[in-house]
């Protein structure tokens, strides 16, 4: 990260990353990352393939813990608490920081059961409560009107765009604080992509959204804050309008204008 952006403190920071380094074996994938992620905003992580943006995102809910040979140093403070403290329950952390992947991955069960799956694991047994959670989650994911009459139908029969919104609804069902989206629209057509983008803009009223995207225009359209990664370094973290109109670092300028990457 450049000196100019180091130490940016935004009011309403939800995640504060300090001196984060990550190695896969001997390969250092993240190098001294320092950034504050703003609350109730959409943060886009951009950069060429292999730059570390997905790795960075996965550190936020400790998805990298399961990878053999991974070594992580530095602090990630979520609401002031270091998520790598020994006392942190990883299951609870992932409940608060949910994730939606590049390819929609509905469970081979009904639409209703897909949404109810998480709450049931977390101990919700009441049918009325589950009904309420399923309806609210599907409404928040802007898909309720399309599926309310076929909740018992298999989720695998839905279109790709609907499946992705179902996965977002499934993430919402456990009442997360932050939603991580890893190229969640890259496999979708423009109409489905548009619906997910509209959804993100609605979601930020209640949640913080952090998305990895290779689509520069998508980052411009929907994100408020943007982080540009290159070769494991966070080169620039800025409000999106500034980053795409007057980037501070020439490497950012060269990437967003398509001069490399």
């Amino acid at each position: 990260m450049t000196d100019d952006t180091e130490g940016i403190i935004l009011s309403g920071t939800i995640v504060s990353v300090k001196g984060l380094n990550l190695w896969y074996g001997d390969h250092q994938a993240l190098k001294n990352i320092n950034v504050d992620i703003p609350q109730n905003q959409i943060t886009a992580l951009i950069g060429p393939s292999g730059c570390g943006k997905s790795t960075f995102m996965k550190t936020l809910n400790r998805m990298n813990d399961l990878i053999p040979g991974v070594k992580i140093k530095g602090d990630i403070l979520y609401r002031g608490q270091n998520i790598y403290d020994a006392s942190v329950n990883v299951t609870d952390l992932r409940k608060k920081i949910g994730m939606v992947f590049q390819k929609a991955n509905p469970f081979p069960m009904s639409i209703y059961d897909n949404i109810a799956y998480g709450p049931r694991i977390h101990g919700v047994r009441s049918r009325a409560k589950l009904d309420e959670i399923v309806e609210k989650s599907l409404k928040d994911a802007a898909i309720w009107d399309e599926v309310k009459d076929r909740l018992k139908a298999s989720a695998l029969g839905m279109s790709g765009g609907q499946q992705q919104r179902l996965c977002i609804a499934r993430a919402l069902a456990v009442q997360p604080d932050i939603i991580l989206m890893d190229e969640s629209t890259s496999a979708l057509d423009p109409i489905s992509t548009g619906k997910i983008e509209e959804l993100c803009l609605q979601l930020k009223e209640k949640y913080t959204v952090i998305m990895v995207t290779h689509n520069m225009q998508q980052a411009v359209r929907v994100s408020d804050f943007c982080c540009f990664f290159l070769l494991g370094e966070l080169i620039e973290a800025e409000d999106t309008k500034t980053l795409f109109s007057m980037p501070r670092d020439k490497r950012t300028e060269d990437y967003v204008t398509g001069r490399f990457g």
Binding site: M216, D239, T242, S245
Partner: protein, 230 residues
């Protein structure tokens, strides 16, 4: 993808240079027409203005195609958006040069303008500003663009002196002949000179606008609105 964008931006650059040269020619020809009292020269302006209008449309079309096909960002976006603003000012320079030429053809001014009225000085200053503003764009030189902005003070000062001189002419005008015995100008000629110099002053303002868009395209700073456009 980038190589295609580079080609389109190069085309835009070339067309902007051509339009700038047309504007320089327009202001030079109309000034010559005034200073040499050359109606034949003045009558060439409408054709030149037509070429400037055509170039304006052509550049707008190039810019819209770049926006449509490339969705430019950062310095590319600043260049394209600046070009769209600059052509409007360049087009107005063409229109106002033509307005000056029209006054010459109407024969309200009956001969070369007396040198005591600083029209030539003002015309030279404005031609310098337009030429330097276009040069600043071509050379991507924000210092040169800043010098154009400052140079406008000289044009404004010239205009003030022209107004003072014309007021003196009106005061000296003989009630019988209706003319100033020193310069030979009558009231119609005074009004024509005032109009011509007002057009020159406006052309200077357009040159300042062009220079400010050049500065914005290079630095991202919008001096007119005192800040960064983000």
């Amino acid at each position: 993808m980038r190589s295609n964008l580079d080609k389109q931006l190069d085309t835009l650059n070339q067309e902007m240079i051509r339009m700038g040269m047309l504007c320089e020619t327009a202001i030079s020809m109309s000034s010559d027409a005034v200073l040499r009292h050359d109606a034949a020269e003045a009558k060439k302006l409408p054709d030149l203005l037509e070429q400037i209008h055509d170039k304006d449309k052509q550049i707008e079309s190039v810019c819209l195609m770049i926006i449509l096909q490339q969705q430019p960002v950062a310095s590319d976006l600043r260049l394209v958006s600046s070009a769209l603003k600059m052509v409007t000012d360049m087009d107005r320079i063409g229109v106002q040069s033509n307005d000056i030429a029209e006054i010459v053809t109407m024969k309200g001014i009956e001969g070369p303008i007396d040198r005591s009225i600083p029209v030539r000085e003002m015309a030279d200053a404005v031609i310098h500003m337009v030429t330097a503003a276009v040069d600043a764009f071509v050379k991507r030189d924000d210092n040169m663009a800043h010098s154009v902005v400052k140079y406008d003070d000289k044009v404004d000062s010239c205009f003030d002196r022209v107004k003072e001189k014309l007021a003196e002419v009106l005061k000296r005008t003989d009630s019988v002949t209706g003319r100033d015995p020193e310069t030979g100008l009558d009231a119609v000629a005074v009004l024509d000179i005032l109009m011509i110099t007002k057009y020159l002053e406006r052309i200077g303002d357009h040159a300042v606008n062009i220079a400010r868009w050049v500065i914005f395209s290079i630095t991202g700073i919008d001096e007119k609105h005192e800040g960064r456009i983000t």
